[in-house]
């Protein structure tokens, strides 16, 4: 029953990266995301969009790794956005307060506009 997470990184421009996940965000899934995110941060990219369209389940250990990514981004003056969350994943992010420090959008376009500073 492997639910191994796959992450695809897309660079729509030099300032922003999109990480598209497919699968379960648990401890190993979170670490996969962190590996890609930290490689981008090392390269000077600190505005990240996590597109969870193909992720239908998460757990709190995986989310705690997303909080670590958020912490590092904020420390470097960056921004983190999420898009295309299931209602339950969005509700869980609200319960944990993640939405106070990262923005949640229904679709990639408004998320990218916010990351680029084109919208509030």
């Amino acid at each position: 029953m492997s639910e191994t997470l796959r992450v695809v990184v897309d660079r729509p421009d030099a300032a922003v990266a999109v990480l598209r996940t497919d699968g379960y965000i648990n401890n190993t899934g979170g670490e996969e995301i962190a590996k890609e995110a930290y490689a981008l941060l090392s390269g000077g990219v600190n505005r990240l969009l996590l597109d969870l369209e193909k992720t239908k389940i998460v757990n709190s250990i995986g989310i705690s790794i997303l909080i670590e990514i958020l912490e590092k981004l904020l420390d470097q003056g960056g921004k983190l956005a999420f898009c295309r969350l299931t209602p339950t994943i969005e509700k869980t992010f609200q319960i944990m307060g993640l939405a106070q420090y990262a923005r949640i959008f229904p679709a990639p376009e408004p998320a990218l506009a916010w990351l680029r500073g084109e919208s509030e």
């Binding site: 029953m1 492997s2 639910e3 379960y24 648990n26 190993t28 239908k56 389940i57 998460v58 757990n59 709190s60 250990i61 989310i63 705690s64 790794i65 909080i67 670590e68 958020l70 912490e71 904020l74 299931t86 209602p87 339950t88 509700k91 869980t92 319960i95 944990m96 307060g97 993640l98 106070q100 420090y101």
Partner: protein, 152 residues
């Protein structure tokens, strides 16, 4: 039996038991039972997903913290209904034989603190209590039992 005909006291045949080993991703096996029973009782998709999330959290809590000597977690899934107007429900009972904990001493995590601390985990019980309608935690030296209920 149609779901709208759920009797006040459900027969035992509407209770499903599952034992999973303490092993990576076994919690996903438990969510399959939630989906099957939730669909049978015509619970909405979002509510089924919330129960699945709560079950995942209860299982990984047992995996991570119970140190259960038999390396197993037992689950019971029950469909029932209440006369008091709340209607049909799906109840999940997650039990381990580990060393237990004192539920009254649980610290509720806060995101602002987590962002500045090395401790970023410990969200499981808060998530379960937020996603489910009723949650009961019984814990002692011989194990922990979390009973959680979601109404349709």
């Amino acid at each position: 039996l149609k779901s709208e005909e759920l009797p006040a006291a459900m027969p035992e045949s509407r209770e499903v038991h599952l034992t999973i080993p303490v092993a990576p991703e076994m919690e996903i096996a438990a969510t399959a039972q939630v989906a099957a029973l939730g669909e049978w009782m015509e619970m909405g998709r979002d509510k089924i997903d919330e129960v699945k999330m709560a079950v995942v959290e209860a299982c990984i809590n047992a995996f991570e913290h119970s140190a259960t000597p038999d390396r197993k977690v037992a689950l019971a899934f029950r469909i029932g209904s209440e006369d008091a107007g709340r209607g049909a429900y799906l109840e999940v009972d997650v039990t381990d034989a580990g060393h237990g904990f004192d539920p009254t001493r649980l610290r509720t995590p806060e995101i602002a603190t987590a962002l500045k601390s090395s401790r970023k985990r410990g969200w499981g019980i808060k998530i379960i209590q937020s996603l489910m309608d009723d949650v009961r935690i019984e814990s002692g030296a011989h194990g922990t039992r979390i009973v959680m209920r979601k109404y349709r």
